[in-house]
Amino acid sequence: MNFYAIKAIYISEMKRFFRTIAQSFISPVLSTSLYFVVFGTAIGSRINEVDGVSYGAFIVPGLIMLTVMTQATSNAAFGIYFPKFIGTIYEVLSAPISFLEIIIGYVGAAATKALFIGLVILGTSYFFVDLTILHPLTMIAFLLLTCLSFSLLGFIIGIWAGNFEQLQLIPLLVITPLVFLGGSFYSISMLPPIWQTITMFNPVVYLVSGFRWAFFGVSDVPITISLLAIAGFTLACLAIIGWIFKTGYKIKN
């Protein structure tokens, strides 16, 4: 293992993050606050408890997931797309490092950023609602796995993307809708039966549900299935990345 290389990539990625620290934090904090005001206060005042949890608190896990997933994906996608775009990727490709080390560096940094933002949102939510986390360790484990797996997904997108539009495409067109439709702001049981069935094909449901279980002990799907789902998703991303580096897809001629 070339630990110095992992460290070099990780640090340089984190430095990029801290160069734009204000913007990295302000926008998620601001948008989360808006969600609390709109959903939690305005709408929530008209909704009774969901699964025995006040509506304002109920949406916290979903909100964190929404932001963490989109941030992890777009951070990781940008992190690898940018060197590809400006050509500095040459150095990474010519260095004595394996694909595993490249991934640990880039994905590790993107996951760290997403984790930071997730925790900041969690902190912000304490300003708006009363919150007790029933299973803090599971909560952290879920958060970490989500940061990691969606950073891996972002890494794949960053390698695949040929321009900035494609870079934005998946986070915007796939992740955001899936999260909104994945029970972030409601319980699946509130849907008509046919939609309940359809929703089960949405992978995000398992993540949001598992994450919510860690907070409140209630969930739409069993926690073990949630854990298996996220583990499976992580492995699938790793397999695709392994193939990318083996074939040099879109990074080596």
Binding site: Y4, A8, K15, G87, T88, E91, S94, K252, N253
Partner: protein, 306 residues
């Protein structure tokens, strides 16, 4: 001298089907400065990119210091430094950060003294905290060199290092290159400029359309391939080549007679020419010779090949 880089039957066909390298064989000797000379699109960058790991070869093998670049890529690559043709740097990064990054990437622990030495050598130390986008083009090129040197490579590739570089920096660059050579570093540089190869290289390889046309000791190449010119100035500048000398390969340039001959030929014909001159009653004022430059040699080679 032993070879430090061995290239065997290397070919590259790009995705579009373009054959950029055709069965290239080349041995680069330890400690030498090899200039790869070739026109645009000859395949110089492709060759370097394969050796350094940015492009996959279609067939053939390369080893660096005995390590295959695919099967033992770590050992092979840790020997290599690369200064790319294009200026590719992260615009908002600080000079010192990007140089330290390179060192780390190549698996070396931080070494502030060494990085300071390299930055000083390249006159970048004062600008170490500047962001890359605040630097001039020539300075950015120095940063690229500093990055390549930061991990103490044994083999250094300079892909057109003097493109867009002024005389001053070029001189600095050659000083650095010579110093590196004195430390035992092997240097491969590509260039379009023959004077450059002539000025710095020990050996010259000529590449065109994906094939290496020749690799020769520079001096040997110049004498072997070289045509020499004998310039004869006469007391009375001639209007035309005198009738009696029409059997010689002569022409008139600036009022002097120019005789072109092949230094490899059994007989250069100089003695005979000079005798004929005095027979014709022409009085010589001055005689000088000039060797044809690599440029002319190169043009001849490329023309012969096509």
């Amino acid at each position: 001298m032993p070879a430090i880089v061995t290239i065997r039957d290397l070919s590259k066909v790009y995705d579009g089907g373009f054959e950029a390298l055709k069965h290239v064989n080349l041995e680069i000797e330890a400690g030498e400065i090899l200039a790869l000379l070739g026109p645009n699109g000859a395949g110089k960058t492709t060759l370097i990119s394969i050796i350094c790991g940015m492009v996959n070869a279609s067939s053939g093998a390369v080893s660096v210091a005995g390590h295959d670049i695919v099967t033992s890529f770590r050992a092979a690559r840790s020997q290599i430094g690369l200064v790319p043709q294009e200026i590719t740097l992260e615009p908002f990064e600080k000079v010192i950060d990007t140089v330290n990054f390179s060192r780390g990437l190549f698996g070396k622990p931080a070494d502030d003294a060494l990085v300071e030495k390299i930055l000083c050598q390249l006159s970048l130390w004062e600008r170490r905290d500047a962001r890359v986008n605040e630097l001039s083009g020539g300075m950015k090129r120095r940063v690229l060199i500093a990055k390549a040197l930061s991990h103490e490579p044994r083999v250094l590739f300079l892909d057109e290092p003097t493109a867009g570089v002024d005389v001053e920096l070029r001189k600095d660059m050659w000083d650095v290159v010579r110093e590196l050579q004195a430390d035992g570093v092997t240097i491969i540089l590509t260039t379009h400029y023959i004077e450059e190869a002539e000025a710095i290289a020990d050996r010259v390889g000529v590449i065109n359309a994906g094939s290496i046309l020749l690799v020769k000791d520079k001096a040997e190449l110049m004498t072997q391939m070289g045509r020499k010119e004998l310039r004869i100035e006469l007391q009375v500048p001639p209007e035309a080549v005198p009738e009696s000398l029409s059997s010689y390969d002569l022409r008139i340039e600036d009022g002097a007679l120019i005789y072109t001959y092949d230094t490899n030929a059994e007989r250069t014909g100089i003695t005979k020419l000079l005798a004929a001159l005095s027979d014709a009653g022409l009085v010589m004022k001055d005689v000088s010779t000039r060797q044809s430059s690599l440029e002319e040699i190169f043009v001849t080679l490329v023309e012969d090949a096509s």
